[in-house]
């Protein structure tokens, strides 16, 4: 006797989402961060590239909400523009991971046990063995530091994450009867992967994508902190932290605000990833309750 299935109609997904505290908090934080980044294109309180040395190291006031840095630049404006850098770097890096990693994982699953599978997975192991930071240092050593190189480094690091995830999930789907019946009607591996496998691992990819996005923001901040990310004068949260380091006793607000920005963004994305996973995986949701 087959177990009773408890599939719920898709329409109630929205209602379920509204009941998840994690998801709502995560979504609000993420939207706040994206919103700030978007607004920075049309308006910031002050220009972030104009230096105003006499005005340096001001503590928060009504004009400078988060104070000013050692060049007298408005920290609030810099955080707004920095959000832009973070989003761009992390988003493109996750994009690279998905666009390259998912097809590799699907191909490995479709030809499991073959030499293709071996090459892809061992290649993944190889890339996985190097942390993003190390890859970034290698790339910088060759091409010099820039935001683009940070993107490439984090992107390369993301490829095996998505390749492994999609291979694992696809392997179990390949044994399903609906894949067998697709094979019986003569559909090839590419077509089955696109029609039957990919749509069914989409929710996993969305969840992992959200989490990798938050890791990407952390990695970007880390790379900029050691000077391998976005170069001056483009503001970046990681470099703002690095700049504040020597002045930490004199102007703690310089470290506090970019630190909080990173914290809240990563927290928001992680909460959203968690919430999405619970939403897509009803079994896990019941356990947590």
């Amino acid at each position: 006797m087959p177990p009773l299935e408890t599939t719920k109609p898709e329409t109630s997904l929205v209602r379920q989402a509204l009941q998840s505290r994690n998801l709502i908090i995560g979504f609000v934080l993420t939207m706040l961060f994206v919103g700030v980044a978007l607004v920075s294109y049309i308006w910031t309180p002050f220009d972030v590239e104009t230096l105003n040395i006499p005005n340096k190291l001001k503590t928060p006031t009504l004009t400078h909400w988060f104070g000013t840095d050692h060049f007298g630049r408005d920290i609030f404006s810099m955080i707004m523009v920095g959000a832009r850098t973070s989003i761009a770097v992390a988003l493109i890096a996750v994009g690279i991971g998905i666009v390259l990693g998912v097809p590799l994982g699907l191909a490995a699953a479709a030809r499991r046990g073959s030499w293709l599978d071996e090459i892809i997975m061992r290649g993944n192991d190889l890339v996985f063995a190097f942390p993003a930071l190390l890859i970034a240092i290698m790339i910088t050593a060759v091409f010099g530091p820039s935001a683009v190189n940070a993107i490439i480094a984090i992107g390369i690091f993301n490829i095996p994450v998505f390749a492994r995830l999609s291979r694992g999930a696809a392997l179990s789907l390949w044994t399903r009867d609906y894949v067998l019946s697709a094979r019986v009607v003569g559909k090839g591996a590419v077509r089955i992967s696109a029609e039957h496998i990919l749509p069914n691992i989409m929710n996993l990819l969305i969840v992992q994508g959200t989490i990798q996005f938050s890791l990407g923001i952390l990695a970007e901040a880390g790379l900029s902190y050691v000077g391998l990310g976005a170069q001056p004068p483009i503001p970046s949260w990681g470099r703002m932290l690095a700049d504040s380091q020597t002045l930490i006793t004199l102007a703690p607000h310089m470290a506090l605000f970019p630190g909080f920005a990173i914290l809240l963004t990563v927290l928001g994305l992680n909460l959203m990833g968690d919430g999405l996973r619970d939403l897509f995986d009803p079994k896990l949701r019941n356990e947590r309750r």
Binding site: E5, T7, D177, A182, V184, V185, G186, P199
Partner: protein, 528 residues
């Protein structure tokens, strides 16, 4: 006073009524069969006794085990009862055991939780219990792991865990559904012996009338959360007061109406000649070729146009391998498979012509469909095989026709698969097989997962379709009664070889091979 008495039990889950007014009782040494189709509430009755109900469940009424009121018992109290006085055996022996613990530890665990027994005492009891379930020490030491055992042996371990402390009541939820017929017969015998030895009460939950009619002293029949009929097994089937009991009884032994030998031509549609299939076993030595396992060994048979052929065998006999070879999913090493005179494989590639002539219906109505596609797209999948796939209107018409021919509505095409029940899904699977009008349909355990009344309807549908579209069926199943009711000829397969072949009635009436005889003897029978 009975051992277990359930009195006017009502159960609601998230204020949806599940059980209504269920009353039953079991005495020591009595076997009570609880029969019902999926959703009848038979498992929920058992979970109520064990107090293992899902979240949001509210109960009223009373359940008492001797003098203990189970519905009022605290969780702590229930924990001390479960495993000690209440034992439970589940359906799926493959997942009921922890794969990383030895069978000895798993049986001993029950003992150590409930008794202040030392490790060696617990092992001692575990050993004795495994002996009682007929797993002798020389072949099944305590240090064995579950993966080293067959399904039937694992089920014996699960039973050993349940009876280690000689519980007063044993609940078995479909304990033999996942097993082969001969194994099923052994497990049923074992349960019966244990009940007699320990003077235990047994609540046997199943959807299979034949299983309980041979085993149980009394029978309870449930439908939609209510008990519709109850009585001693000996007389219940003779009287059958409730119409549902009659329906269930008739469906279990249902024989679809099939036209006799209408246009059976002598030309073979499918011919399998001397087919063998080897699998490489994992390497045991660094050098030298890995050992081979022969799954199918020089099998030959033919199916004539319009014929319905049954292929019977237990799990591991090679019938699935053979099916995959016929469907062109795997190439065979030796022999030829031809459909309408064309080989399935030519030059390691599957012929599209051949694929167009056959389709398949699988066992599991829940796993056979991509949950993200609408029915219209699911049913239309075989159009991929046509050189000129039908477009817009023609396509729509073909989908509607296919759905209507299996008794569904054309409007069902716009729904998603989760909106359908198991039986309806199996109809959709048949519609998908029919849509490109193949000649041969391979039915791989196609009705095994269905409730008896639904199964009867699907068998009727298959009989009707074969008549209307002059279809040829290859019916693969472990269920003898189903094969007997719908096939003209039958092949019996064992260890990769066909041991007996012939007209269905002749094979079943007068089996020649010892294996066929044991299969038929092991199959549970309904009282006449």
């Amino acid at each position: 006073m009975s051992l277990l008495s359930i009195n006017r039990l009502n159960l609601d889950i998230h204020s949806k009524p599940i059980l209504r007014d269920v009353s039953l009782s079991i005495d020591a040494g009595q076997i009570l069969g609880v029969i019902g189709e999926s959703g009848s509430g038979k498992s929920m009755t058992a979970y109520s006794v064990m107090q293992l109900l899902p979240d949001g469940a509210t109960t009223s009424g009373s359940i008492s085990l001797n003098d203990v009121k189970l519905l009022d018992a605290t969780e702590e109290h229930m924990c001390s009862l479960r495993g000690d006085e209440l034992g439970m055996v589940f359906q799926e022996p493959m997942t009921a055991l922890n794969p990383v613990q030895t069978i000895g530890d798993q049986v001993a665990e029950t003992v150590r939780i409930h008794r202040a027994a030392s490790r060696s005492e617990a092992s001692q009891i575990a050993r004795e219990t495994l002996d009682r379930v007929e797993l002798p020490a020389d072949r099944f030491p305590l240090s064995r792991y579950p993966h080293e055992l067959s399904g039937g042996q694992r089920q014996r371990v699960v039973i050993a865990m349940a009876i280690a402390l000689r519980p007063k009541l044993l609940i078995a939820d479909e304990p033999t559904t996942a097993l082969d017929v001969t194994t099923q017969a052994q497990i049923l015998r074992l349960l019966k012996r244990l009940v007699r030895e320990d003077d235990m009460g047994l609540m046997m939950i199943t959807h299979d009338l034949a299983v309980v009619s041979e085993l149980a002293d009394d029978i309870v029949i449930m439908k939609s959360g209510e008990i519709v009929e109850t009585g001693p097994a000996k007389t219940l089937f003779r009287n059958m007061n409730h119409p549902y009991t009659k329906t269930l009884f008739e469906a279990s032994s249902h024989v679809p109406n099939r036209p006799v030998d209408s246009q059976k031509a002598e030309v073979p549609l499918l011919s399998v000649e001397n087919v063998s299939r080897d699998y490489s076993l994992p390497r045991t030595r660094l050098f030298g070729a890995p050992a081979k396992f022969r799954a199918v060994n020089r099998v030959s048979f033919t199916i004539a146009q319009g014929e319905s052929l049954g292929l019977v065998g237990e799990s591991g006999c090679g019938k699935s391998t053979l099916t995959r070879a016929i469907l062109g999913l795997e190439e065979v090493q030796e022999g030829r498979i031809q459909i309408d005179g064309t080989a399935v494989f030519s030059g390691h590639r599957v012929n599209r012509d051949v694929r167009r002539k056959m389709q398949v219906v699988f066992q599991d109505p829940y796993g056979s469909f991509n949950p993200r596609h609408k029915v219209s797209r699911l049913v239309a999948e075989p159009f991929h095989l046509l050189d000129d796939p039908l477009r817009s209107m023609a396509r729509k018409t073909a989908i509607s026709e296919a759905l209507e021919s299996v008794g569904l509505h054309a409007s069902d095409a716009n729904k998603y698969i989760h909106e359908f029940s198991g039986g309806q899904r199996q109809r959709i699977a048949i519609a998908r097989a029919l849509i490109i009008k193949p000649k041969l349909i391979v039915l791989d355990e196609a009705v095994s997962a269905l409730d008896v009344s639904i199964r009867a309807q699907i068998l009727d549908l298959l009989a009707d379709l074969s008549d209307r579209f002059s279809l040829t069926y290859l019916f693969i199943s472990h269920d003898l009664s189903v094969v007997r009711s719908i096939t003209d000829r039958v092949l019996v397969m064992k260890s990769g070889e066909i041991v007996e072949a012939g007209d269905t009635e002749i094979v079943f009436g007068n089996p020649q091979h010892a294996y066929t005889r044991s299969l038929i003897a092991a199959a549970p029978k309904l009282p006449e």
